[in-house]
Amino acid sequence: MRRILLSTVSCILVLFQPAVFAIEMPSEFKALHVLNRLGFGPSPGDIKRVDDMGIDNYIKQQLHPENIPLPDSLTQQLNSLSTYSLGFDELTEEYGPPPRVNGQRPDPEVVKAQRKKSQIIVQEAIQARLMQAIESPRQLQELLVDFWYNHFNVFAQKELDRLWIGDYERNAIRPYVLGRFRDLLGATAKHPAMLFYLDNWQNVDPNSFKNARKAKGLNENYARELMELHTLGVNGGYTQDDVIALAKILTGWGFHGKQRGDTQVSFDFEFNPRRHDPNDQVFLGQTISGGGQEEVEAALDVLARSPQTAQHICYQLAQFFVSDAPDPQLVSQLAQVYESTDGDIRSILEALFKSSQFWDGKNYQAKFKTPFQYVVSVIRASGQQVTNYRPLMGMLQQLGEPMYGCFSPDGYKNTQAAWLNPDGMLRRINFATAIGFGRVNINDDQFPVSEDDLLSVYDHQFSASTMQAVDAALPRLRAVVLLGSPEMMKK
């Protein structure tokens, strides 16, 4: 009876407490919390680094990645990737579809060979992403690259996008992850990777350009996802008429494949007024006067400034950084910051990291890591250097999150419901075991991970029940159990 009473009381307490006041987590959890939530979990020495500089300074530093120097070893590794630093035109030239010669279509065998050759771009883009997530001290930036890439997802295996996803991430996502949302939106909207993925390069006013061979009409695909996924959100109050109006505004906004000389084909962003619908459009209740490219800029301004967009983006940020079902009050607080700073992402995150919800004890270890986050955090914790990334790519594939491999435009989710499943649990444990034993071919001199090292990397923040299982395990399995523990799978 007493037990029932007690649990009823705690039930009531638990149900009502979070709404009334948050219980701040104890200070000894905080260093691990920021390393888990502002990055991919601690590497050896990170806890001490955060303790020495203080939590607030660490957050401040992470919000200004431009002030954190990159280690030479990382820069060198990135530079050693043959396609990573190639420009957009060079990539297209070297790996793109072979041009017509004397008006003749290229030999299908040549086209096939060229397509195969271009897979190295995707491979190296994946390597670059993993490498930076594992080694970069700009951890928050790396986490945000993942967040925004999924927000503005492009699927690498859609034909030409194979050539461009690396460039897309480097030039349309990376520079803006902490900047103004409008700039990020504009950069993705102009990148051929997005325009190809969501078909807008073929979105043409049917009345204005009758002689086009292929593209000759309206295509709603990008217009719809631009509102539903990128800005307003599905409940953002737009109608089918708004989708059509935005599609019309976006006519002619694409890229143009040009043959340059005999050997090159180039694709550049291009607004083609001849393909554009010149009429005025009523879009979300406002009239956008017929014109040219400025119509799109005006529409993007409207979308980026909309309170629905503020709400949608802030919900997603709060879900990513705080909890799967974020407190609506936090979301609206962040949305206010969005509106008062014209969508400055850094300011929103600054507020988020100061919020009581971020520090609420019930949100400690409340997020289940995505496969990408789990794999990277295990490598970071193990202190292993990676020179061969293939096993990690394979692991992500097995766990259902192949890098740049999300087919649909909504990108990968980051909730427990999306990723916790029986097969995935066993595969994560499998990976933890192989890394713990030093049996994955990620470099030439693998070593078994030591239990003591792991305990100190994670500041001894493992629960009593985990430690019980660790102590019960054979000595050489103890590090494995830690790497496969809930404290590693969650953050």
């Binding site: 649990s7 705690s10 039930c11 638990v14 219980i23 701040e24 104890p26 000894e28 078909d199 073929q202 979105n203 049917p206 292929k214 593209a215 000759k216 009409g217 309206l218 295509n219 709603e220 695909n221 719809r224 539903e228 996924l229 599905v234 089918q240 004890g361 019930k362 400690y364 097995q398 766990l399 259902g400 649909s408 909504d410 427990q416 419901a417 999306a418 990723w419 916790l420 499943n421 029986p422 097969d423 995935g424 649990m425 066993l426 595969r427 444990i429 499998n430 075991t433 192989a434 029940s465 299982a469 395990a473 054979l474 399995l477 159990v481 496969g484 523990s485 809930p486 799978m489 969650k490």
Partner: protein, 417 residues
């Protein structure tokens, strides 16, 4: 409010118990009503396989209304011609089957395949993600339903719940199977029966100890272990039978064949979900040949392999093929189609009354189209599923209400003999 570490951990523990207890009560313990099972022992043999075409397939290219000239007017470059050269498979003089689906035409001919045309969700959304969510939750218009209808279905199946009773094919658990019941998942592929470290007893023992609780992670772990033990045995048998063949590129037909083997080996498997992508044909959809034709060909061959592989079990099986919505009646400017509304839903199985087109055909004149642009919806997808659940899985009204809390008041198609 400040707390010390000890108090905090206590507080966390109390949270833990409360937030996870409801999960711990379910797992795969005894089902609801053993009496039902005693009265109908054949219930245990009934199987229901759902295949979801993600991305919204163009149903008007699957089951083609070739008897209406408006179809050809609306689709100058992507319509499937009805002349003899196109090899369209005529179904009833008005509708025809896409020639790339010849793999399943024998099932139409032997009257175990039917299509419910102009079927779909009452919710008008043209968002892939909302529409999929509605169809998976079974609650159109309510996006916050926490579980999927197949999970709720599992919860009302009578008898003891075996770990492989519900099986999702793929590395993640889709919304349709999420919920309080434990569901196993497996990625069928070339290496699906390779041993894992967790198969070694010492590793297994260590993790059994770690994940012995009833929290969400422990439940997933326990479910995974139970199912894996069973499925590895099944797959191993399959390997032995299929040994000697050179490795082939792994496609849907291979997965389908493997799935049929699993079902034949493991009588516990009753509910299966799998999905296929690639249907979002905004550009260059193609007609008799092309992008969509290629995907349909893979689908048809896979379904044919599945049915052949099931053998006699096909008589106890219903296979349903569904998609979140159809596509625009008119082709767009890029030889493709945009997001629409009504679609064709497939139902096949040994006891299905096939060889006829089900559902009320709304017509293709401008005023009959939904918003003058899409095939209208005249049959709620839930009434099709409900019919399967009632007549094939023999669910009672109470159980049905658990699966679909808001049963639509619309006529159910006549799906069974």
């Amino acid at each position: 409010m400040d707390m010390d570490r000890r108090q905090f951990l206590k507080y966390m523990a109390s949270l833990f118990v409360i937030s996870l207890l409801p999960l711990g009560l379910t797992g795969w313990a005894a089902g609801l009503d053993d009496n039902i099972l005693q009265a109908n022992p054949e219930l245990k043999r009934k199987k229901f396989i759902v295949l979801f075409q993600r991305g919204a397939v163009d149903g008007l290219s699957v089951v083609v209304p070739h008897g209406d000239g408006r179809y050809y007017d609306a689709r100058p470059t992507i319509a499937i011609p009805s002349d003899s050269q196109s090899e369209m498979l005529d179904l009833n003089g008005y509708f025809g089957l896409h020639p790339s689906l010849s793999g399943v035409f024998p099932l139409w001919q032997n009257k175990t395949l039917t299509f419910v045309h102009a079927c779909g969700s009452p919710d008008p959304t043209r968002s892939h993600f909302d529409a999929q969510n509605f169809m998976e939750c079974g609650t159109p218009g309510n996006p916050s339903t926490p579980d999927g209808w197949m999970n709720r279905l599992l919860s009302v199946l009578p008898g003891l719940h075996a770990p492989t009773q519900a099986l999702s094919i793929g590395p993640v658990l889709p919304k349709i199977f999420q919920g309080k019941m434990s569901v196993s998942n497996i990625a069928l592929g070339k290496n699906d029966n390779h041993p894992m470290a967790i198969d070694r007893p010492m590793v297994e023992n260590a993790f059994d100890m770690l994940y012995k609780g009833d929290d969400a992670l422990s439940q997933a772990y326990q479910q995974g272990q139970e199912a894996r033990k069973q499925l590895m045995v099944d797959l191993q048998k399959h390997m032995e039978m299929a040994s000697g063949g050179a490795p082939s590129p792994y496609g849907f037909a291979d997965s389908a064949r493997r799935l049929a083997q699993l079902i034949n080996e493991d009588p516990n498997i009753q509910l299966v979900f799998l999905d296929l992508g690639g249907w979002d044909t905004h550009v260059n959809q193609g007609a008799v040949k092309g992008q969509l034709a290629g995907h349909l060909n893979g689908l048809g061959n896979g379904l044919s392999a599945l049915v052949n592989g099931l053998g006699n079990a096909y008589n106890d099986t219903v296979i349903m093929v569904m998609s979140e919505f159809g596509r625009t009646f008119k082709e767009n400017g890029d030889g493709g189609t945009d997001h629409g509304h009504g679609n064709a839903m497939w139902v096949m199985g040994g006891s299905v009354k096939g060889g006829v087109i089900q559902g009320q055909w709304p017509g293709l004149d401008n005023d009959s189209l939904y918003e003058q642009r899409d095939l209208a919806v005249t049959t709620d997808f839930r009434s099709v599923i409900s019919t399967v659940l009632k007549q094939h899985m023999l669910l009672g009204d109470d159980q049905l209400t658990t699966v679909f809390p808001m049963i639509p008041q619309v006529p159910s198609p006549l799906l069974f003999m």
